[in-house]
């Protein structure tokens, strides 16, 4: 998928809540000891939800982008505070942006890259000047479920604009791939999602991510070694490492964007936050590949090229590494209170 006009990133912003739950705490309560695959997960506080984290990430992205008007705001999330009532209008109000197309995108963990694709189209066609795509989740895991180890909270936001000397990376290409796959779902009115655990690997994550990345390579004549960095969706620490290996990427290409071991799976924000960690350190001319995965299922893959503007722009960045290292540990009881796991 190419656009009429070149589209680039004018600003990005990440939000991580302060609190971390060590997975040893989850294992202590539910498994009699041990730890999860990731060391800790980021936990939203009692007064945070997808709207508040989306606003915080969006404000940071807008600060960096320095654009006054947005033509579209799309929030990709599967943890909407309201089943009916958009999160995107709350973000629009908080940013003082009212003449915008605002909508919530839903596609499990790939809702944000979906938002990026759509905004790319709107900017790339000349219909709007700037658009904001946000990935945010207060990932829900049923207490005691294996998912609970990895389900983290966080947000990442991107302002996309027509490519100019002010855009810090150009989106060179993007592809999308979907099939009807029943790996993970949440029915209307259910609090927690369900999954077929043995089904989440090969037929879901690996099949879709490998197919979208191979399609990106084939359609645009690219190969793994063309990229300085690669970022994959991170449902756990193992899948992105394995899929990178299968696609011919080396460990050093994925190291910077691999955040799951420290914060868990931030769902919609997962691969976009990995991309932000890469942009925090990338050099002009570097090529970056990002591939998301959303259950249900599908994957969006993009090729980006970092521009000279990165050095100036990221002076305004609140660095992902700093957000990860500034944290307060909590125990399982505090986590249960914060995330409403007690039923009163």
């Amino acid at each position: 998928m190419k656009t009429h006009y070149d589209v680039g990133i004018a600003g990005y912003g990440v939000y991580l809540p302060l609190y971390r739950l060590p997975t040893t705490e989850i294992a202590r309560v539910w498994k009699g000891g041990g730890a999860g695959p990731n060391k800790e997960k980021a936990v939203a506080s009692i007064d945070e939800d997808s709207s508040t984290m989306a606003v915080e990430a969006a404000r940071r992205a807008m600060d960096m982008a320095e654009v006054s008007r947005l033509g579209a705001i799309f929030v990709g999330t599967e943890s909407k505070p309201y089943a009916v009532k958009p999160t995107s209008t709350i973000v629009a109000q908080a940013l003082g942006q009212h003449f915008v197309l605002a909508s919530d995108m839903e596609f499990a963990c790939k809702a944000a890259t979906e938002a990026i694709q759509v905004i790319r189209g709107l900017v790339g066609s000349g219909m709007i000047q700037n658009g904001l795509a946000i990935g945010v989740d207060t990932a829900q895991g049923r207490p005691g479920d294996d998912l609970e180890f990895t389900t983290g909270s966080g947000a990442a936001a991107y302002v996309l604009s027509r490519s100019s000397p002010e855009t810090l990376a150009t989106v060179e290409a993007g592809v999308s791939y979907v099939t009807d796959t029943g790996d993970f779902w949440r029915r209307q009115n259910e609090k927690y999602p369900r999954h077929l655990s043995r089904f989440t690997g090969e037929p879901a994550y690996f099949h879709h991510v490998e197919t979208s990345v191979k399609q990106l390579f084939e359609a645009y004549g690219l190969k793994a070694s063309d990229f300085t960095y690669a970022v994959f969706h991170q449902p756990n620490p193992r899948f992105p490492v394995e899929v990178a290996h299968r696609l011919g990427f080396k460990a050093e290409q994925i190291k910077t964007g691999l955040l799951n071991p420290m914060i868990g799976n931030t769902y919609s924000a997962s691969s976009p936050m990995g991309l932000a960690a890469v942009l925090d350190e990338a050099k002009p001319g570097d090529r970056v590949m990002i591939a998301s995965f959303g259950s249900g299922a599908g994957s969006d893959a993009f090729a980006l090229r970092v521009t000279d503007a990165i050095e100036k722009k990221r002076k305004k960045a609140v660095k992902v590494a700093d957000l990860i290292s500034k944290n307060t540990k909590i125990d399982y009881a505090t986590y249960a209170k914060f995330r409403g796991k007690f039923t009163k």
């Binding site: 302060l18 506080s45 007064d47 709207s51 508040t52 915080e56 505070p81 109000q93 003082g96 209170k337």
Partner: protein, 128 residues
């Protein structure tokens, strides 16, 4: 919090106050008449989002509807333009607060009406 809240969203969401066009004084919450010079020429103004703690207190018992957030920390913050604002301070404990600490405004849930009612958002402060 009900109808009046929805009308005042920009005040709660964005810290929008007013600035006097005659004497340049700034006010939050907004006023209709300048408290310094009496002028009625007041325009909306984004308040600075950073400031410092003037005073603070810990509430172990709060109003109905805020029990889940106990113990609640309240503070008066002097924003960078000198305007003083009352608000909650979160992501910290009373032991970690001192007068003069630098803070910044964040967007948080203020209150929600159970699991089926509306959610009310607004500014709170965190240590900068």
């Amino acid at each position: 919090m009900s109808i009046s809240y929805w009308r005042l969203k920009d005040r709660y969401y964005r810290l929008i106050g007013v600035s006097c066009e005659d004497c340049k004084s700034e006010f939050f919450p907004p006023v209709h008449v300048c408290r310094r010079c009496g002028s009625r020429k007041l325009v909306d103004r984004d308040m600075p989002r950073t400031g410092k703690i003037v005073t603070y207190t810990e509430l172990r018992e709060t109003l109905a509807g805020f029990e889940d957030q106990e113990p609640m920390l309240l503070c008066i913050v002097q924003l960078e333009n000198g305007v003083k604002v009352l608000g909650q301070i979160v992501d910290t404990t009373v032991e970690n607060l001192s007068i003069g600490d630098k803070v910044k405004a964040v967007f948080r849930k203020i209150q929600e009406h159970g699991s089926s009612g509306q959610i009310f958002y607004g500014y709170k402060f965190v240590k900068a």
